[in-house]
């Protein structure tokens, strides 16, 4: 198997385990945002299996790459991949949204190894990534900064400020991923407030923009590789995804933006994900 095949095989396993963890966490916690976790899962799985240079033994290692989950409500997806990669132990799955432990409802860099900035208030992650990337440039390192943005999150004006910043400073080590699942808390994104020509917007802001199927592991791999190999400036991956992907009754259902599976739903989802 070549490197890509190995990564895809690992990512497929990781994505499946992540989905099971996400369902389990939200079920046990009786809360959370499973829909937007499941839509982002395949992207995060390929990123961590194939591209992130991280060290679970030393999460703050100086030469690490950075992943900022700007859409902080997808915290279970982040915790799930951190469990797969050994930053967190599998037993901690019971700690999501718990009073004690290391898995708060939204990511905290003070509590959780492998998390470099808190998120939960939308719109801030891309700016943070730009800061990290500018620092890496000053230090002469090739560290990369990845950001996962929600599509509804793009309503936040700060994201567009940061898009200008990354383009102005020509930061090739910044890669933004838009989890374009087209549903948000109040309903379909196009009804709440449309993003219009999303790809054209990123393009016109000076970004190298790729549009992919966010559940096609092969395409995701190629896109991250293209982003890594692009030296002119920042890359945006507009990933067309399905909210709730992988659990049939959650797919494309706005009600699963913020809702926890009950006992029956949990059993049914886990059966689908077995």
């Amino acid at each position: 198997m070549d490197k890509k095949e190995q990564v895809l095989a690992a990512a497929a396993r990781t994505a499946k385990n992540m989905r099971r963890s996400i369902i389990t966490m939200t079920h046990l916690a009786r809360g959370g945002h499973p829909g937007g976790c499941l839509s982002a899962t395949d992207l995060i799985a390929v990123l961590y299996e194939g591209f992130m240079r991280v060290d679970p033994q030393n999460p703050r290692r100086k030469d690490r790459d950075f992943f900022f989950l700007s859409k902080g409500h997808a915290a279970p997806a982040l915790y799930a991949v951190l469990m797969e990669k050994g930053f967190l132990s599998p037993e901690e799955i019971t700690d999501f949204r718990a009073k004690t432990g290391r898995l708060p409802a939204y990511p905290s860099c003070e509590l959780t190894p492998g998390v470099d900035i808190a998120s939960g208030s939308l719109g801030q992650g891309l700016s943070v990534a730009n800061g990290v990337a500018l620092a890496a440039r000053l230090n002469g390192t090739d560290q990369r900064a990845y950001v996962m943005l929600g599509d509804g999150e793009l309503h936040e004006g700060q994201v567009w400020e940061a898009m200008m910043t990354a383009a102005h400073f020509r930061l090739p080590n910044v890669c933004a991923v838009v989890d374009y699942n087209k549903l948000q808390l109040d309903g379909p994104l196009d009804e709440v407030k449309t993003l219009g020509d999303l790809r054209g917007k990123w393009d016109s802001f000076g970004w190298h923009t790729l549009e992919i199927d966010g559940h096609d592991l092969d395409a995701i791999y190629d896109a991250f590789a293209a982003a890594r190999d692009w030296s002119e400036g920042p890359t945006a991956l507009i990933a067309n995804t399905v909210k709730g992907k992988g659990v049939s009754f959650m797919e494309d259902e706005v009600g699963w933006h913020a809702a926890a599976p009950n006992d029956e739903e949990y059993a049914s989802a886990m059966k689908e994900l077995s």
Partner: protein, 312 residues
């Protein structure tokens, strides 16, 4: 001798930049006003103009800190803390990042620019956030020490910097320790707690009061948070009457911080000098300070009022 705090700030940043290569400076298109232009000229590689984008600059500063740099993030105080407040709260403070946030043109100091440009609420916005150190040096001499102290301590901090020249009233030899207030005049009859340019006015007021037979203790509260509780309580217990003076609204500002402390631990009569629920006017620095009551005469009046309340 009068020196603009911003000039002292700009020069201090350059000195610091020479000694410490991890220092980076971010500005939101006001480098000529904030005087970070001096740093830009000395260290162009470590200066970043993020344009007119205060939300972005705040979180970008947090990113620099994540990567181990010591960023000084600059903009006009009300725009930086207003537009960048949620970023300050989440990406800087809750994330405990080593970001130095510097708000410029504070209080009445942008004068004729008028109400839209007079930050009278930034102490309030800063001091409600857990873990954020809040500073306002008294003058140019203290500014130099403050910049150095900010860089030497690891953690989020907010510092206020004024635009207009103000008297230099502290000495090179005065100590400067974050969180440790300086008593710049000892007295037994009333305590005047001041920060920033109001320290000079408090000292003037103390002289005027002395002529009336009232000996005021003047405390330079350069660190507004964390409060030097021991110093403030000891002085309040000694004098039994306290006046605060700040170039800021008395609502939720420095005086309010002192009032919270005293109300819980040593309730003594207290008067607060600063603006009172008004936006301001377009006028000269002196005229606006007069309009807000940020004057030595007002401090004298309130010191007498506080003493009257004590003996009432």
């Amino acid at each position: 001798m009068k020196i603009a705090p911003r000039e002292a700030y700009g020069r201090a940043l350059v000195e610091l930049g020479r000694e410490n290569s991890e220092i980076v400076v971010l500005d939101a298109d006001v480098a000529k006003a904030s005087m970070t232009v001096l740093f830009k000229e000395a260290f162009p590689d470590r200066f970043f103009d993020l344009g007119i984008a205060e939300s972005d600059i705040m979180a970008t500063g947090a990113g620099f800190a994540v990567a181990g740099k010591i960023p000084f993030v600059n903009a006009y105080a009300n725009f930086l803390l207003g537009n960048g407040w949620e970023q300050l709260r989440l990406s800087v403070c809750y994330s405990n990042q080593n970001v130095k946030v510097v708000g410029h043109n504070i209080g009445a100091s942008s004068a004729k620019d008028g109400p839209t440009h007079l930050p009278l609420e930034d102490i309030a916005l800063a001091r409600v956030i857990p873990g954020l150190t809040v500073l306002e040096p008294a003058d140019a001499a203290e500014m130099k020490k403050a910049v150095r102290a900010l860089a030497a301590f690891a953690g989020p901090a907010y510092m206020r910097v004024g635009r207009m020249p103000v008297p230099v009233v502290t000495k090179e030899s005065d100590p400067f320790v974050l969180g440790r207030a300086n008593i710049c005049r000892a007295g037994r009859d009333v305590t005047i707690v001041a920060c920033g340019c109001m320290v000079a006015k408090a000292l003037e007021a103390a002289e005027l009061l002395s002529a009336l037979g009232i000996e005021a203790e003047v405390i330079n509260l350069h660190t507004i948070k964390p409060l030097d509780e021991d110093c403030l309580l000891a002085s309040a217990r000694k004098t039994g009457a306290v006046v605060t003076a700040e170039e800021h609204s008395v609502r939720a500002g420095m005086g309010s911080a002192v009032a919270e402390l005293l109300a819980e631990n040593c309730p003594v009569p207290m008067r607060l000098v600063g603006s009172r629920d008004v936006f301001g006017i377009c006028a000269s620095y002196e005229e606006i300070q007069e309009y807000f009551g940020m004057t030595s005469a007002k401090i004298v009046e309130e010191a007498q009022n506080a003493r009257k309340m004590r003996f009432a």
